[in-house]
């Protein structure tokens, strides 16, 4: 492994979870830089070993069921695969157990609150995962501006589109959804509009 990928015990320091939606919105990089805490030398290797394994590494089975249902509402499965088929729940489980561990305590608290309030509003239901899809959507519309939902949404995006070795983007289904070809190099033309480009003509703009 390269030097950059070597965890440094001296560098370990307390997690600095991002707590407000405002902060999250202000920064597309909100999650950036959690690696030093867990040392990501082995991040992908460990994730890779566990690839295909359904064993949970962070969540309880109850928590996992909620997360699975939640991510399936963020990127739903319809005529094409959604977050569920992409293995996003497994990615989040692995991430919080490993390279995104600093975010885990805040995320788990948020998840518990999410479930608690959901049950309080749906008497008799066995939690979010047991609701009908319509009920889930109605509930999410109430909580979509909470820090927890925002974190879940961001982790879903990461799980859908990161390299499959991290546990999500199963079989490249996330890349397939957005039309990203996972090739190492490309040659022109790259898209529709540069196919018949006649070449640059500086004089063309001066007529």
């Amino acid at each position: 492994m390269s030097d950059a990928a070597t965890g440094d015990a001296a560098a370990r320091e307390p997690a600095t979870a991002v707590h407000t939606r405002r902060e999250l919105l202000e920064s597309a990089l909100a999650l950036l830089g959690v690696a030093a805490v867990s040392g990501f030398a082995s991040t992908r290797a460990v994730a890779s070993e566990a690839r295909g394994s359904t064993a949970l590494r962070y969540f309880s089975s109850g928590e996992a069921a909620t997360i699975d249902a939640l991510v399936a509402q963020i990127i739903p499965s319809d005529d094409t695969p959604g977050a569920r088929e992409m293995g996003v729940a497994r990615f989040i489980d692995h991430a919080l157990a490993g390279f995104m561990a600093p975010l885990a305590p805040a995320f788990r608290l948020g998840l518990a609150e999410f479930e608690l309030k959901c049950r309080a509003q749906h008497a008799g239901a066995e939690g979010f995962a047991a609701l009908t899809s319509e009920q889930q959507i109605a509930w999410l519309q109430q909580v979509e501006h909470t820090p927890f939902f925002n974190s879940a949404q961001q982790l879903t995006v990461l799980g859908a589109l990161s390299m499959p070795d991290y546990g999500g983007n199963h079989n490249g289904l996330g890349w397939q959804l957005i039309g990203f070809e996972d090739l190492h190099a490309f040659t022109p033309p790259f898209g529709y509009y540069d196919r018949d480009y006649p070449g640059f003509d500086a004089a063309a703009g001066k007529s």
């Binding site: 950059a4 830089g33 957005i178 790259f190 509009y193 540069d194 640059f200």
Partner: protein, 550 residues
Amino acid sequence: MSAVRYRDSTVVDFVVVGSGAAGGVLARELATSGFSTVVLEQGPRLTPADFEHDELKYWFLGAITNSDGRSPQSFRSDPEAVAKPTGMRPALWYARTVGGSSTHFTANYWRFHEIDFIERSKLGPIAGTGFEDWPITYAELEPYYSKVEWDIGVSGLAGASPFDPPRSRPFPMPPLPVKSSGVLFERGARKLGLHPFPAPMAINSQFYRGRAACISCGFCHGFACEAQAKSSTLFNMIPEAEATGRCEVRAHSYVVRVDTDAKGRATGVAYLDRAGREHFQKARAVVLAANGAETPRLLLGSASARFPDGLANSSGLVGKYLMMNYSARVSAVFEHELNEYKSVQVTRVIHDFYDADPRRGFYGGGGLDARIGPQPMMWAQRLGQEGPSWGSAFKARLREFPRNMIVLGHGTSLPVASNAVSLDPKLKDAWGRPAVRVTYKDHPDDLANARFMQDRAVEIMDAAGAQRVTRSPVAEQNFGMHLLGTCRMGNDARSSVVDRYHRTHDVPNLFLCDGSSLVTSGRGQPTMTIQALAFRAADHIARFARAGEI
């Protein structure tokens, strides 16, 4: 790797702190001029085999940047407020690896224009700012811009922009192939009577000086180039410096202090090795090229009885006048696929709005470019922040990825004294050193200019036939990668930190050359100018050394 090894106790001619865009150039120029040179780099030395298309690792896990958790920073927009730790995401972002931020930059390499150096004279003062002319002109820097293009390796087309400043040589390589975003941008801009031109990029469009042509992989911005087609100093200046047999590049060497003797001359630098042990590299002269955040931090952290406010800080301006540029963003969706994730980030630019125009009612100006918007994860994150973030509507938007592009309006930042890098009184880095505290609030003109640039971007995308155009909110920045102005150059020791040759006014054998030297911000894309300054500084420093004037 380095062929020559120096002992710490050996007094080398130069110790250069930082191996990035400026440090790499200085090392190569000083070493080829015959001087023994040690380069100290806080990060590791990586090879092309280490670089990969892993967006999570590079953008979210701080693979090669100071967002790896070890270098926390604090931020405040109000200089009277207590700065808050930014969390793992620093306010000022840079690469910590041999090659510095030139390893992960986008490689936009337009030159500053003649006006950038004399704007204050042309426009007059701007209240509440340190708006000044540079102590050098474009004409003095021109030969060094050409040197950057030929020695570093820049692709482009001379004469393609009617707004281009005079140049003594053409580009050494033709422009990179146009992308769909470039074609659409060109089409829209021409309909409006504007003058699009092929983007000058520090990326090889053909085999050049031992390095391969670009393979159009698309992973430039925030990534290091495994094809070595991107003209990072890691691939050109650093190995050329080492090939002289006079330059040692020492990775994992985190400089914490510049020491001075009883005469007030620098004696060398103290640094921590990988295990945290302190060493002292002796040198006849010290050159700091550690970037616009770390150079002032190092000077402030080198305070002593003789220099109580920090080294080279008799002006009180070390760390002040931080400028980050403002990039106003517009995203656009078209009917057919563009596949912007393929190939380099930018292929077409306009400079029609480069100059400030008092009739607009504010100071500012800039360049607009067409580009990727960006790679999948960052793109999708932003998508969720600017529209539906979940459900079928979000999924439908995710499918627009290949049909999406963005236009960035790169604008000015005014030098404001309260915008500054300083030492946080409490927060410490992983080595126990005071962390960087950032104070920053965009000047109202910077934001007005950003809105102006954004309006122009919308017009161009509309003229190009976009189906939907989305503006990213223009708001005060709390994050930057252009780290400029914090040890500005000038002729007057009371109002600048270094002179026109990058020598500090206070310490005769201490030189500073990186983004911190800039007097004004240009219109973004500062690395080209930072490297031209580094080539020029090296010429003069070598001249002084030969004449015994250091």
